[in-house]
């Protein structure tokens, strides 16, 4: 439980831990894929496969892998 101390000015209030280096790269890659115009899930997954960020267990991104991971990381 965090303590409240005035004046409270904490830029990070939505997460309990720093993102790992891999999570940070993942977020940047997703943003870049969106920035290139991907909107639908299949476009996002195809875009992710063109980035250097791989799923943690290796291999290609699939819709299933991507949505499962997002559900976990976006909770």
């Amino acid at each position: 439980m965090p303590d409240y101390k005035y004046p409270y000015l904490d830029p990070h209030q939505s997460r309990t831990a720093e993102p790992t280096a891999w999570q940070q790269e993942l977020a940047n890659a997703i943003e870049s894929v969106f920035a290139k115009g991907a909107r639908e899930l299949d476009e996002v997954v195809a875009g992710m496969n063109k980035t250097r960020v791989r799923p943690l267990d290796g291999g290609d991104w699939t819709e299933e892998k991507f949505t499962t991971l997002m559900r976990e990381l976006g909770a």
Binding site: M1, P2, D3, Y4, Y6, P7, Y8, L9, D10, P11, H12, Q13, S14, R15, P19, Q23, Q24, L26, A27, N28, I30, E31, S32, F34, A35, G37, R39, E40, L41, V44, F66, T67, M70, R71, L73, G74, A75
Partner: protein
């Protein structure tokens, strides 16, 4: 002339009482409008069975504590014995115990025990003011009623922060400025184009615009005419059991699908010079889009949103009440003018009712 003759010459219709002066109205508003729900602190700062938290809101000292079941209690932060802060006491799970002489106070404000003098008339007395409170999406809301409205009024929270088709994050911050400056700021969309010109979301849009106000059932819109979904183009003041502002800002393409990001903003006075803000960042998203936005928010977007909010804070930081007398407003400020007039009307009505009831 005799007294009787003089009396007879007085107008027959009773002259209305003078009513509150402008000065009284402005002074009253400095610590917030009463008879509203106000958010006071994020829920996460008050632990079940944990230390009581002492804070000041609307210039009233409050103690917040959660009993052993997790239920939140909000009371005046004054021991009924010698008026020291109860927040320096101990949470006993179902009551607070003052640390000075051990007086125990229950969640309804009743003194349960005076250990130093059992049987003392203070026992059983409802001696500590207890505020109606509720929790909404991660924040504790408190009813601040005046002497005529101690019972809480209704408040239907905005759907953006409660409905399941929205996702949201609460951002809380303490700001050193009168609370009304934050509301002025929210009803002033034009500052986005300048103050936030090089932020991630507000890099587009005309620097000149025409604004119009439009009434709603519980407030009003202030919006740019002929421009929507480009920049920070509109704000809506809502006064419906609580005072808040709603606005939307488009994301750049990198923000992904799901439409605009919204802010549902509340600002609660601490005292005349300080306030705290509750900005729920909201988005109407579901499924993988929701999850992805949440992940991006936590990893990348939150710090960018924070940076924008800091630009607002730094512009207004440390200002004191009374800037109005040095202002020269122009058309872009119509939302601000409208807001101020509205708040003054509400305050005047509360003061007049209190006066009429002999409560002030």
């Amino acid at each position: 002339m005799s007294v009787a003759a003089f009396e007879a010459r007085k107008p027959t219709s009773a002259t209305p009482p003078a009513g509150p002066t402008d000065q009284q109205v402005q002074q009253y508003l400095r610590t917030g409008l009463r008879n509203r729900w106000w958010p006071v602190i994020p829920s996460r700062f008050v632990e079940t069975g944990g230390k009581p938290l002492g804070i000041m809101r609307l210039a009233e000292p409050l103690v917040l504590w959660r009993d052993s079941k997790g239920t939140i209690h909000v009371q005046a932060d004054r021991c009924p014995h010698r008026a020291v802060p109860l927040s320096r006491g101990i949470n006993e799970g179902d009551r607070l115990r003052c640390n000075y002489h051990g007086v125990e106070v229950g969640p309804d404000g009743k003194v349960l025990s005076v250990p130093g003098q059992p049987g003392c008339p203070l026992e059983g007395k409802k001696a500590v003011k207890t505020y109606p409170s509720r929790e909404i999406n991660g924040a504790i809301f408190v009813w601040f009623g005046d002497a005529l409205h101690e019972e809480a009024g209704s408040f239907e929270p905005p759907p953006e922060i409660t409905a399941p088709d929205y996702s949201s994050f609460l951002c809380y911050a303490d700001w050193e400025m009168p609370w009304r400056y934050a509301f002025d700021n929210l009803m002033d969309p034009m500052h986005g184009t300048f103050l936030h010109a090089n932020s991630h979301t507000m890099y587009q849009g005309d620097t000149q615009a025409h604004f119009a106000t439009r009434d709603t059932e519980h407030g009003f819109f202030f919006e740019k005419t002929g421009q929507r979904d480009v920049n920070f183009d509109w704000s809506e003041l809502v006064d419906n059991g609580a005072l808040y502002v709603r606005l939307e800002i488009p994301y750049p393409p990198s923000g992904g699908p799901g439409g605009n990001f919204g802010i549902t903003g509340f600002g609660t006075p601490i005292d005349e010079d300080r306030m705290c803000v509750f900005f729920w960042r909201t988005r109407k998203v579901s499924g993988w889009q929701r999850d992805t936005w949440r992940f991006l928010y936590k990893t990348n977007l939150e710090k960018r949103h924070w940076h924008v909010l800091e630009q607002d804070r730094e512009m207004l930081d440390g200002l004191k009440p009374g800037l109005e007398k040095f202002e020269m407003l122009y058309q872009h400020d119509a939302g601000v003018i409208r807001l101020r007039r509205y708040l003054a009307q509400q305050a005047r009505k509360q003061l007049a009712d209190l006066q009429a009831a002999g409560k002030m």
